[in-house]
Structures are given as C-alpha cells and as structure tokens.
C-alpha cells in the first residue's frame, strides 16, 4: 500500500462512502456542516458540500435534543451518524443513549429499533483538563443494547465505521484525539470490518497483551523492548469493547497463560475489570499468573502537564505488568 491516510480522514471517507451508497445515512452534530468548518477537527469536512445541508446538519448546543432527534430519525428509517463533540458531553444526554437508544428495540418487543451511530472523541494529553479528557466506555459497555467500538488504525476506523452504520442497532464509536492524524495505510473503500471481532496484531506465545484505541500505540511501543527481554508477546486489538470477542481473547490466553490489559480509562470498574474477571472465570487453571491491568489513575484528569502525564499509565507500567506475569 503506497497511499497513506490518517484516522480522521479514514472516518471522513467512511462517512462519505456510506452517504453515497445509502440515502438513509445522515450526519448531525455541532459544527459538522461545512459552513461551520466541517467539524471542529474537520472530520466531517466536505460532506455537507457534497450531500447538502439537509443530510449534514449542524445543530444547536442541545445534545439531548439532537441525540434524541437522531434516535427518532433512526426509528423512522434513517441511519443517523450523530457527533457528540467530546465523550464527557455524553453526560448531558445519557438518558437518550442509555434509557432510549439502547432499550427501544427490547421495550418495543422488536417493533422498532435504533440504527444509530454516535461518534465522539476523547483523550488526555492535551491539557484539556478534567471535563474534556475522559474515557467513559465502561458506562456504555454496562448498558445492554449498545455496542461500543474503539478503533486504533486507519483501516479499522474505516471498516468499523462502515459496519457501525450498517448495523441495525445503536453503536457508540469512540475516536482517540491523539491518533487522529497519525499516518496509516489507506483502507479498502467499501469494505466493512465486522463489529465484535478482535484482531490478533502480532502472534506470540508467552503473554497476551490486550488493548484498544490509544493503548494500542503504547502496546506497539513496548513490543521491541519485550522482544529484547526474550518475551514473545501476542498482541490483540479488541477494536470492539462491547460485545467482547472472548473467543479470540481466551484462545490466546489459553495458549500463553498470561494476560495484560491496557486502557486509558481509569482503572477501577473499567473495561479491564470485566476482561480480567472473564479470563479468570474461564481459564483459572491455565493461568500462570493473575491477569494484570494497566490503566489510568482513579482521579479526575489533571490540567498541569506533569500531572496529566502521571495520570496516564506509562509504557514502563506496561513492561512492569508483563514482567510481573513472567516472574
């Protein structure tokens, strides 16, 4: 693949291709249309110019209002892709997401359903402070009826977005701000990647490293060091955190007997807890060491750079966790 792109562009392409191929796909959110700049980070740029402002609508600052509108439009047969600018702002419209989008299929006995994608970005490291940096995927994972997708590569971002839009049910699609512009291979346009399937990024036999979204960057970052320490690590990108692809995870951990999970969200009551619990439940006898979790501190995200850096796990935290499993 000679051509290269980045995650922001890959999502832009996925939206464009989905809109071109399905007139039911519409995009809404604050500043998403081109007169407003095509998205605050330009992820939706060009779409309203191409498809019109009817199908790509900038909204008032009314997350309850427009996420609810997206739910209603989905029920009425559209395929809305709504943007909540930052993941922390889901807190102003949780009711529409968790009490409505997530439950309407069930509560209606299947009479209606909500094929809706809610995009949002987040991530620490930008000195955005306590209300603009959180990873809150665990909230949505704990809500039956929602899928939660968190890609880490250009190809996955494109393919998973296509699958999310094609999905018959609500999908929370989390984009990591820090890797929007990292270059990556050009995705195969038109190709969806199934939701709920993890990817074995690299095979190994001593320990299974499990990540998603931003943590994949750091996991890639430690692979060389681990190799030097003669640790053969199997690297898994979950890609979808709910539902979890336990088949892939358990097959790997059964083989390696060790697992380390890494995520940017706070440690306690995070996605790592569920994974750890499930691995232990299924593979107690096979585990050579308890599953290790590497995650951020259980504190609000601080502003000052040195504190913000210390809030997040470090690559050496990952290395130490692996070493603990190997000890």
């Amino acid at each position: 693949m000679s051509e290269s792109t980045n995650i922001a562009m890959a999502i832009n392409m996925a939206l464009e291709d989905a809109m071109a191929s399905d007139p039911r796909v519409v995009v809404l959110g604050e500043d998403v249309a081109d007169p407003e700049g095509g998205g605050i980070l330009k992820v939706t740029m060009g779409l309203s110019s191409k498809f019109g402002e009817d199908r790509v609508r900038s909204t008032p600052i009314s997350e309850m209002g427009f996420i609810g509108a997206a739910v209603g439009a989905a029920i009425a047969g559209m395929r809305p892709v709504a943007e909540i600018m930052l993941m922390n702002f889901t807190a102003v419209c949780m009711d529409q997401i968790t009490n409505h989008a997530a439950k309407i299929r069930y509560m209606s006995g299947g009479k209606t359903h909500v094929p809706l994608v809610i995009r949002m970005m987040t991530g620490s490291g930008f000195q955005n402070g306590g209300q603009h940096s959180d990873f809150l995927e665990a909230w949505f994972c704990h809500t039956a009826g929602l899928k939660v997708v968190m890609p880490s590569t250009t190809v996955d971002a494109y393919g998973l977005m296509r699958a999310a839009i094609a999905d018959e049910d609500p999908v929370i699609f989390v984009e990591h701000m820090g890797s929007y512009w990292a270059p990556g291979p050009m995705p195969q346009r038109g190709e969806a990647i199934p939701l709920g399937k993890a990817k074995i990024v690299q095979e190994g036999k001593d320990v299974t490293l499990i990540g998603y979204s931003r943590s994949m960057i750091d996991l890639h970052g430690v692979m060389g060091k681990l190799a030097k320490e003669n640790v053969s690590a199997e690297l898994i990108d979950l890609r979808t955190v709910s539902p979890l692809d336990m088949e892939t995870v358990l097959t790997s951990v059964k083989k390696t007997g060790r697992a380390v999970i890494v995520h940017e969200a706070c440690r306690s009551f995070g996605v790592g807890a569920e994974l750890s619990a499930r691995i232990h439940e299924s593979l107690h006898a096979d585990l050579k060491a308890p599953v290790q979790r590497v995650a951020s501190k259980d504190i609000p995200v601080p502003f000052a750079k040195h504190l913000e850096t210390a809030y997040l796990y470090s690559q050496s935290d990952i290395l130490n966790a692996v070493r603990r499993t190997m000890a």
Partner: protein, 325 residues
Amino acid sequence: MKSPTWSKETGLAIFKKMALIRKNDERFIATLKSGKLMMPYYSARGQECIPAAISMHLDTSDYLVTIYRGIHDMLAKGVPPKLIWAELAGRATGACKGKGGPMHVTHPEAGCMVTTGIVGAGLPIACGLAWASKLKNEKRVTVCNFGDGAANIGAFHESLNLASVWKLPVVFVCQNNRYAEHTAYAKGTAVARISDRAAGYSLPGVHVDGNSPEAVYAAAAEAVERARAGEGPTLIEAVTFRFNGHLIGDMGEYIPKAEYQAAVAADPYPAFRARLIDTGAATAEQLDAIEGETEREVDAAVEFAFSSPVCGLEELERDVVALSA
C-alpha cells in the same frame, strides 16, 4: 390538505373515542382492584377529549409519541385495545410481546412510535421522527404528548428550539392536568401558561380548554395543517384534569377539595355527552349504543389478553440487538 370543519359526525366520532378511552380505563382500574393484574397504572381519566379531538386530524401514517400516561393517546390514534391489554397483561400477543408494558407501548402500524417513562424524553425523539419525515418529503405529522411538569425539564426547551430552527412538522401537545405527581402547577412552573413559552422559540403557542373537544379540535386543525404545510411546529397547551391521581392508589390528599369538586363539575365526558344531545347532534340512545359498542370492544380486548399465552423464555434475551448482528 385542509383540515375538515366540525360536523355532527365529528362530534360523534370524538365521542366514540372518548367512550372507548373511558371504558378502557375503568375496566383496567377494576382489573387492578380485583388483583388480577398488578403494576403502576397512570390513569388519564378526564383527559380523554384531548387525543380524541386531535386524532381526528391524523391518520395511521402520522406519528404519535406519548408517555406513561398515554393509553388515551394510543387508543385515540388507533392502537387496538386488545394489543394494549395483552401488553399490560404481559402476554406474547401484546403490542410489544409483554416486554415493554404500559410505559412503552409501541405499535407502528397505528403510528404509535414511542412511549416513554422518562419525563420530557419524548420531545427530542419526536423531533427526529419529524425530521425523518421532512427528509423523506413525506406529509406526515408527528404529535408529541407530555404533561405540564415536563415543560420544566431541559428536553422540552432543546426540542422546541430545535423544531423551530429546523422547521419540523411536529405538534407539541402539553396536557396540563395541573399536577406533576403531587406538585401543583405553580409550585414548579414559573409561567402562568405553558403556551407562553412558545414565543421564546418563535413558534405559535396555543392555550385551549382541554375539556372542550371543540376547542382542542380547532387548535389541532391549525397546528396539524401548519405542520403538514411545512411551516413548522406548534405548541398546544390543553388545560385538563386527571381524576384518578398520579397513579392508582394515589388518594389525592394534595389536591384542594374545592379544586377537585370544580374539576368534577367540569368533567368533559358527561358535559360533552350532554352537549351532543342538547344540540341535537345525537340522541341519548345513539350515545348509549356507542358506549355499549365500546364496552364490547373492551370485553373482547380483555378476553383476548387473558386467553393469550405469555411468551416463552426464549424471548428473554431476544430483541436486545438484531438477531444476527
């Protein structure tokens, strides 16, 4: 499409809907009292004529959004009583296989798209239904019902603003029964009329006597027409009263006696019945016959519900997401 004007037939048709709503409500309360069913039930006794009159301007393709206190809205819109009864009895034959219950009855065949138990949450969703109609160039109108208390929650505000900016074909209907649970209107609401809030969104706000089918009919005619013509949303406030408290079991201690008695005196059901007879629109016998008919419809619905099976346990984890997702 111009809305029809009031005729003798209009009155009779509205009365028929009111009669069905009332009979249905009475029977449901009796069923609860008999112990045959047990659940929180939010009776709309007293509010019958609001949806009965509004729905005259709608057909099954129009969308309805309603709330936990919404069975009157559903019946007026044409959701078959037997599907409601079976749902409330938790049967497989219910509108939602018994999975939703009274607060979530959904029946798209009659346009009943969303019933919510969260105060105010229906309004944003109604905006979206209406937006879809607009995008698809349909002539469909979305009618969204809620209470007076709901006019104080954020979703109300965001929705009226959004509907106005986007010129959405939606009619917001505030059924102001003067109480939000046990809280009297003025203790929670800083404006004398909810309809006065419409000006803050540059949309028409109409205040009507919710005990008058004629007044509601006229207000709805204009609002629905406006929506169908692509001229945007309207807020209708219909002032009414609920006779059976917030939910069955509520003894209404918080309602001043005089207010309650005045409400009983203004009960729209007997008043409208008498008016139909007085104005010669119908004879007492005709109205008796209509009531008898609705009684049989309710009988059949009850019979259907209680003779239906509950769904199997294989349904438990179905409908969480699409089967082969």
